[in-house]
């Protein structure tokens, strides 16, 4: 793909990332960190291609390892975030 085009996408995404986060209450810092950490597991998509494309044996081995690691990041990340946020809700309900 055209490098200039990809660079454009990169720059716009970075600006968007900067703009998305503002005035987050302190209690949400850890869940937000955890939630965005799960998104960085998107590297799983890249890992799938490496593991399944049958380029070389080494690439398949590396890809399979990458799929396993990235899946831990994705599944664990989303589940932990959900558990944290569920706890907040309960606390709020109890104090009401």
């Amino acid at each position: 793909m055209d490098i200039v085009f990809l660079a454009f996408i990169l720059v716009l995404s970075i600006f968007l990332g900067f703009e998305l986060i503002n005035k987050v209450p302190a209690t949400l810092h850890t869940p937000l960190m955890s939630g965005s950490n799960a998104i960085s597991g998107i590297t799983l998509v890249g890992a799938l291609t490496s593991a399944g494309a049958e380029h070389t044996v080494l690439a398949t081995v590396l890809g399979t390892l990458a799929v396993a690691m990235a899946t831990i990041n994705v599944i664990g990340g989303y589940m932990v975030t959900d558990r944290m946020l569920a706890m907040f809700k309960k606390k709020e309900g109890a104090s009401k």
Partner: protein
């Protein structure tokens, strides 16, 4: 060709869901739904990638999914609420090493030009730093290693030498991609740099460091995206990288610390002794 279009359109949908998910995560009323929205984005991206024609063999993918899924789910369910931050660090480390491996595997893919080589080295470098840095952060928070800042004489000089070493071997590898030894040295030095960046930081500052490492893992995914020409990796990685930096800054402010103080703690000889 049609399949490519479908895949890329689904990536656009996934990117939109990530953006809304992140936005919703920033407000207490919508946070839990936001996490779900972003998870749906991830599911779409993964499922549609599996349908792509470049994937021929599903056997090893299944192995990776099952292994990673079981470990991730069991750990996420069993961990105590009080040890959440270190869990985030641990998961983040796995994301980092995954980006490193994706970059490495991209070396054996089709069409490796000068630009791909640079991005491959970047994803390996940032992924390696994220991996070991996160492991040290995990170790410190879970008290598997001492939580106090570890500083020693000549730390600054050692770190600068380390960075010069990484640059030298990265360039050597870029010029001679057939010499795997250079690559292994870059991987080893990046791993060492991750450790060196986190050990001088004290336990109380750890949440800020984890947030920073989270940002790094986004950048690593972004670099891996450039290495394999995948837009969703670039977009999602850049989103996490940028929002992670902002979040890090917000957390620093909340703790009355300056970002540069945390960032370069290994370089400025701040032996707070704490």
């Amino acid at each position: 060709m049609n399949m490519d279009l479908l895949v890329n359109l689904s990536y656009v949908a996934a990117a939109v869901l990530f953006i809304f998910g992140l936005k919703m995560l920033g407000s207490p009323a919508t946070a839990r739904k936001g996490n779900l929205v972003s998870a749906i984005g991830m599911l779409i991206a993964v499922v549609i990638t599996l349908l792509h024609h470049s994937i021929i063999d599903y056997k090893w993918i299944a192995v990776g999914f099952i292994l990673g899924g079981i470990v991730g789910a069991v750990v996420a369910r069993s961990v105590a609420m009080t040890s959440m931050p270190e869990m985030v660090a641990l998961f983040n480390g796995f994301g980092g090493i995954a980006s490193l491996l994706v970059g490495w595997a991209a070396l054996y893919g089709p069409g490796i030009g000068a630009f791909s080589l640079v991005t491959i080295v970047l994803s390996i470098l940032i992924g390696g730093v994220t991996f070991t840095g996160s492991l040290v952060a995990y170790g410190k928070l879970s008290e598997k290693i001492p939580g106090r800042p570890l500083v020693f004489g000549g730390q600054r000089i050692f770190n600068i030498a380390l960075i010069i070493g990484i640059v030298v071997f990265a360039v050597l590898f870029g010029l001679n991609p057939e010499v795997s030894l250079y690559l292994y040295i870059v991987i080893a030095l990046s791993a060492l740099l991750g450790i060196m960046l986190v050990i001088p930081i004290g336990g109380a500052d750890m949440p800020v460091v984890i947030s920073l490492l989270n940002s790094y893992s986004g950048l690593a995914a972004c670099a891996a995206g450039f290495a394999i020409n995948n837009i969703i990796l670039i977009v999602a990685g850049a989103l996490v990288g940028a929002s992670g930096i902002i979040l890090t800054q917000i957390m620093c402010k909340a703790m009355n610390r300056s970002l540069s103080n945390v960032l370069f703690s290994g370089f400025s000889a701040v032996s707070s002794g704490g």
